[in-house]
C-alpha cells in the first residue's frame, strides 16, 4: 500500500493533501463504529500534508513522505494530546516528540491522530482504557486485541496506511493477529523507546502495524537505530537491517532461494495451547514453507509456563515503579486533598483504572520485603533460562513459527461481562504465545495465516534471533 501511494504522490497523480483529506473523511465516517482513534489532529495533519507536498515537489522525498499514519496514544507527540487512555494523564500535551515520531515526521509522514489502547498498555483487548473498547473492524462484536487495538483496527479498516504501537507482552502482535494485519515487535534495543510512556521498560518496544510485510519493513527500516536519548538502543541494528534489506528489495524469488537453506522450528510447548483451527493454520503454513524449500524441525522451549509467570512478575514490578511518577503535581489529573500525601493518594486512586491499580498492587507485592527474593529475583532467573532456551532452539533452526494467539478475536462481551466467560487469569494465560519474545528481547513478526470457518483471521508469528527483523518480515512475506 505504501509503495502504491508513494508512486502516485511522486508522479503527481495524487497530492498528500488529497490523500489526507480522503483518510480524514474515512475516519469521520467509520471511527464512531470502531472507536480506534481517540484524539484526531486533522488540522495538523493537513499542515503536515502541505509540507509533504512541498518536499515531494522538490523531488527528493522519502517513500513515507505524504503518507497518512497513526500513533498509539502512549507515543509522545509535541503539543498533541498523549494520555495513554488514562484519566490520570487527561489532556497531557507532551513538550517533546518521541524519537520514532521525530524520525518519521522529518521524512514527511502525516499524523492523522492517536489511537485507542488499554490504559497504559495494560490489557489484551483494548477495553481497559477510559475511552471505551475498540471494535474489531472485521466483526464489531469482537475485540481488536490489545493493547495496540486502536492501531491495528485503524490499519485493518484502512483508516491509516500504517500505525505504530508498543509491545510489552504481545500488544502489537496480538491485535495484528485479531485484525488480520501484520505486526512487528522489534528486538529489544532495535528501536528507541525515548518518548514511549513507560510501562515495563525492560520488556517493551515500539512496533509497526501494517497492511503487508513490505510496508512493515519500510517503516521499520526508518524507525530503527541508536538514539542518544535511549541508552538501551542498539548501535548496529540499522547496519544489520540494511544487510537484510535485500530480501525485501529483491522480491520473493530471492527469499525463496534463501528458504532452501533455512530451518524453521516448530515448538510443541507453545503450539499445544492453541485451538484446532489455529493448529491447522500453523501446520498449513509450515507445509507452505516446506514447499518453498525450508526444512521444518522441532525445537523445545521447556520453561514456557515459568516464562509467562515471570513475565507478569517483571512487567508488574516495573509498572509499579514506572507509574510512581503520577502524583498530580507536574502533569495530568489532580484531586485536591487535605495535604500533599492525601492529594497524591486521591489523584492516583481516582486517576488509574481498576486493571492498572491491580497491576501496581501486584508489582508492589512482588517487590516488597520478604517477597522480592521469592518472586522478583526468581523471575529474573527464569528470564536468563528463557534466553538459554531460545539460544538452544536457534542452534537447531533459524526462526520459530508459532501461533500469534490462542485463537481468533474473542467477543467483547467476554471482557465486559467480567467473570461471565473468562476469568482475568484466563486473559493473562492467553498471552502465552507472545510474551516469550518480550522476556527474551527477541524480534517477532505476526502475520495472517488464514481464516477460521467464520472468516475470522488466524494470526501466526515468526520469532528470530536479535537483529533479524528484516529476515522475519521477508520470510513471512512468502506466505
Amino acid at each position: 500500500m505504501i509503495l502504491e501511494y508513494a508512486e502516485k504522490l511522486r508522479s503527481g497523480e495524487l497530492s498528500s493533501v488529497e490523500l489526507t483529506r480522503e483518510y480524514i473523511s474515512r475516519i469521520e465516517k467509520m471511527n464512531p463504529k470502531i472507536n480506534c482513534f481517540v484524539h484526531s489532529c486533522f488540522e495538523e495533519a493537513l499542515e503536515m500534508a502541505h509540507t509533504a507536498d512541498e518536499m515531494l515537489a522538490s523531488g527528493n522525498a522519502d517513500i513515507l513522505c505524504g503518507i497518512p499514519m497513526a500513533l498509539k496514544d502512549n507515543i509522545c507527540t509535541k503539543g498533541i494530546v498523549t494520555d495513554c487512555c488514562s484519566r490520570i494523564l487527561k489532556d497531557y500535551r507532551p513538550n517533546y516528540d518521541a524519537t520514532v515520531w521525530a524520525k518519521l515526521r522529518s521524512l514527511g509522514a502525516v499524523l492523522l491522530g492517536k489511537t485507542n489502547m488499554d490504559e497504559f498498555g495494560m490489557g489484551s483487548g483494548s477495553v481497559t482504557g477510559c475511552y471505551g473498547p475498540v471494535h474489531n473492524p472485521l466483526d464489531k462484536n469482537r475485540s481488536a486485541g490489545g493493547s495496540s487495538g486502536g492501531s491495528a483496527a485503524a490499519v485493518a479498516a484502512n483508516l491509516a496506511c500504517y500505525a505504530l504501537g508498543s509491545d510489552t507482552g504481545g500488544s502489537v502482535r496480538l491485535p495484528a493477529a485479531y485484525c488480520g494485519v501484520y505486526g512487528l515487535k522489534p528486538g529489544y534495543g532495535s528501536v528507541s523507546r525515548y518518548g514511549l510512556i513507560a510501562y515495563g521498560s525492560s520488556l517493551e518496544q515500539i512496533g509497526v502495524i501494517a497492511a503487508d510485510a513490505k510496508d512493515a519493513a519500510i517503516v521499520y527500516e526508518r524507525m530503527a537505530g541508536t538514539d542518544e536519548h535511549d541508552a538501551t538502543s542498539c548501535r548496529d541494528c540499522l547496519i544489520n537491517s540494511n544487510q537484510q534489506m535485500h530480501y525485501v528489495k529483491n522480491g520473493l524469488s530471492k527469499v525463496e532461494r534463501t528458504l532452501s537453506v533455512m530451518k524453521i522450528g516448530l515448538a510443541p510447548e507453545i503450539t499445544d495451547s492453541a485451538g484446532p483451527a489455529m493448529k491447522s493454520a500453523l501446520l498449513n503454513a509450515a507445509e507452505n514453507f516446506r514447499k518453498a524449500g525450508a526444512e521444518i524441525v522441532e525445537v523445545g522451549i521447556p520453561h514456557l509456563k515459568e516464562i509467562l509467570s515471570a513475565y507478569y512478575i517483571i512487567a508488574c514490578a516495573e509498572a509499579s515503579s514506572n507509574l510512581g511518577r503520577y502524583d498530580g503535581i507536574r502533569y495530568g489529573l489532580r484531586e485536591e486533598g487535605a495535604d500533599i500525601n492525601d492529594m497524591i493518594v486521591k489523584t492516583r486512586s481516582r486517576g488509574f483504572g481498576s486493571e492498572v491499580k491491580k497491576r501496581i498492587m501486584f508489582g508492589t507485592y512482588v517487590l516488597s520485603g520478604g517477597y522480592a527474593d521469592k518472586f522478583y529475583k526468581k523471575a529474573c532467573a527464569v528470564r536468563e533460562t528463557a534466553k538459554r532456551d531460545f539460544a538452544a532452539a536457534f542452534e537447531k533452526c533459524n526462526m520459530i513459527l508459532t501461533p500469534a494467539a490462542v485463537g481468533v478475536a474473542p467477543e467483547l462481551s467476554g471482557f465486559t461481562d467480567g467473570k461471565a466467560k473468562n476469568s482475568r487469569l484466563d486473559a493473562y494465560l492467553g498471552d502465552i504465545m507472545t510474551v516469550p519474545a518480550n522476556v527474551t528481547g527477541l524480534p517477532a513478526f505476526a502475520f495472517p495465516g488464514g481464516c477460521d470457518e467464520n472468516g475470522l483471521p488466524l494470526g501466526l508469528m515468526l520469532t528470530g534471533r536479535k537483529g533479524e527483523e528484516m529476515r522475519l518480515m521477508s520470510v513471512a512475506g512468502v506466505l
Partner: protein, 108 residues
Amino acid sequence: MSVSEKEFEKFANLAKLEFEEAEKAQITEELDEIVEFARIVCDFAEEENAFVPGESENTDREMSGQRAGMTDFNSLRTDEVGGSLPREEVLSNAVSENGCFVVGQVKL
C-alpha cells in the same frame, strides 16, 4: 487466601492507592489468583536458578550471531550540563502559580 487484609492495606499504602470496599474485594480476589499463578516461579528448580551477572549479554550476543556484528549500546553518555525546557513549558501541564508548581501543605 494469598493476600491478607493487613497485607493488602500495607501494599496499598506503599503504592499510594486507596480502594472502596467493593473494589477492594474484587482486586483482592484477582490478586489472589495472580499470586497463585506467579508461584510457578517459586518452584523453579534451584539448580536452574543460577543467575550469572553478565550472562544475559553473552547469551544475547550468541543469539544475535557474532557475524551480525551487533553490540549493545548500553554505555552511559557523558555527564554534561545541557539545555533544558523553558519554565513555561515545564509548567504547561501542571497546576502552577507565579511560575512555580502548586503543591499541598506537608503534614508530618
